[in-house]
Symmetry: C2
Amino acid sequence: MNDLVITGSLAFDAIETPFGKTGKIIGGATPYIALSSLCFGAKPHIISVVGGDFSSGYFEILRSRGVDTVGVKIEENSKTMFWSGRYSSDMNQRTTLKTELNCFESFNPEVPASCRKPKVLMLGNITPKIQQSIILQMEKRPDLIVMDTMNYWIERTPEDLEQTIKMVDVLSINDEEARLLSNEIVLKKAADKILSKGLKYLIIKKGDNGALLFSKEGGIFFVPALVLDSVVDPTGAGDSFAGGFSGYIASKGKTDFETMKAAVVAGSVTGSFCCEKFGTENLQNLTQEQVKQRVKQFEDMTRFQIEY
Amino acid sequence: MNDLVITGSLAFDAIETPFGKTGKIIGGATPYIALSSLCFGAKPHIISVVGGDFSSGYFEILRSRGVDTVGVKIEENSKTMFWSGRYSSDMNQRTTLKTELNCFESFNPEVPASCRKPKVLMLGNITPKIQQSIILQMEKRPDLIVMDTMNYWIERTPEDLEQTIKMVDVLSINDEEARLLSNEIVLKKAADKILSKGLKYLIIKKGDNGALLFSKEGGIFFVPALVLDSVVDPTGAGDSFAGGFSGYIASKGKTDFETMKAAVVAGSVTGSFCCEKFGTENLQNLTQEQVKQRVKQFEDMTRFQIEY
């Protein structure tokens, strides 16, 4: 009953930061989302595609932790998507060294029967058309449909994007994207304009400045980012946020504003863990105790008692 | 017993933003600090200097609301400091059109006897040497000494600044200044390094991304900025933050971390009011009910209940 269906890329990444360099590690959006959702008790199912080079060891990283990969199509004669990137010495800039879409270029998802009635559907950042196709394959309207997108789709496929936004409940974007999508500079005005497209909730992520949650009824909630001693690798932080967020909702089974507020905190918790090690490494090995402690850190960081 | 002594500039400002243009209005740091401190029950006393052109009407803006101006020296044969500036159409950039220091150039404060035993001393952004001179004139060590500074003093008078920092309890700066002062990029490292100079608390302001409070014991607290429909004039927002912060502490008479947390919320409340109208206009006319409602907005914006 806490089923969470996730779609997006499943890939190989090679990452270089001032703290080190990885080989070909498991990457793309879905592993971050799925592993993060586990922290809050969701049962995640991935819909994606990989090539014949995605060996069983990579699947095992996901399956051994309870991530269902039945919906991952294996194209034996093709190669898995590959991305490599390098961060600047101050970590503020990322340069993409290589993007090979490979089998992901012709990704045409077929949702298996077992994945057509989830509580929550989390649409990772892919073409709006594919996001739509996943929604249309649902047998029952999920309690909540969440979508991620990016400037690329806002600029290249605005009409498809508008159509997809109309079909979902929650849109998650960053502040630059919110301004781009709304043509408004003031964030509050941007949020109002985007919500009026038919969304119930809008999340505007501000990187290490936290995230804002807006409801169509006018509610506003803010969650800060944790103040970390060091960020080893920010790759996947946004996807980890989406995973903690959607995973929390799937496991609670409620979609009211109070649940959404807790869910963005859950997303910030998993986002913070993600940045502390390379790739999904930290997310693969979290204990319940670590998650609990970090939730408490967020509580300590935001609770105040003002005598007035 | 809720005395708050404030030092800094008292000036005329002329401000231009996309929303309009003011004439010569009351400005400088101290009016913003003093008027904001009133919102939370402080009894503010200003130590500053003005010229013969600072007519009684300007004094009346302060005195009629309960701000003590006994410590404001009037140099009859000189002119009051004058600053004018213009904001860009997106409000992200400010151009200084004119700065005439006038009588403020030779400001050599004499603290009147009635202002030498405050609960809290708030040192606005002026030369570190003058900040020191004020501290040295205190008869009794205030419960808390708070200081503001800026990149100008970090770069031009680093030794004086280091000396002054050693004499105070709380330093309030923005994120760029924190990085400049510490030579650290990662904010947590910058905070640790600055706190080690002998401070009890450090506030790092992040503009419309809120503010962080660090304690020397390792406590971290975050307060967001309010999401405003529109910012009419951000001049004085930092000083208004300082006023709400120091005013809250003066009126509570406690300096523990929990009080500091509430005080940065108080500072964000007054900072948000400041931006909604030109100059100190909004701060001059606030009702207790307005302050109360805004405090509640901050509570609503940050409270969450995560079931874990």
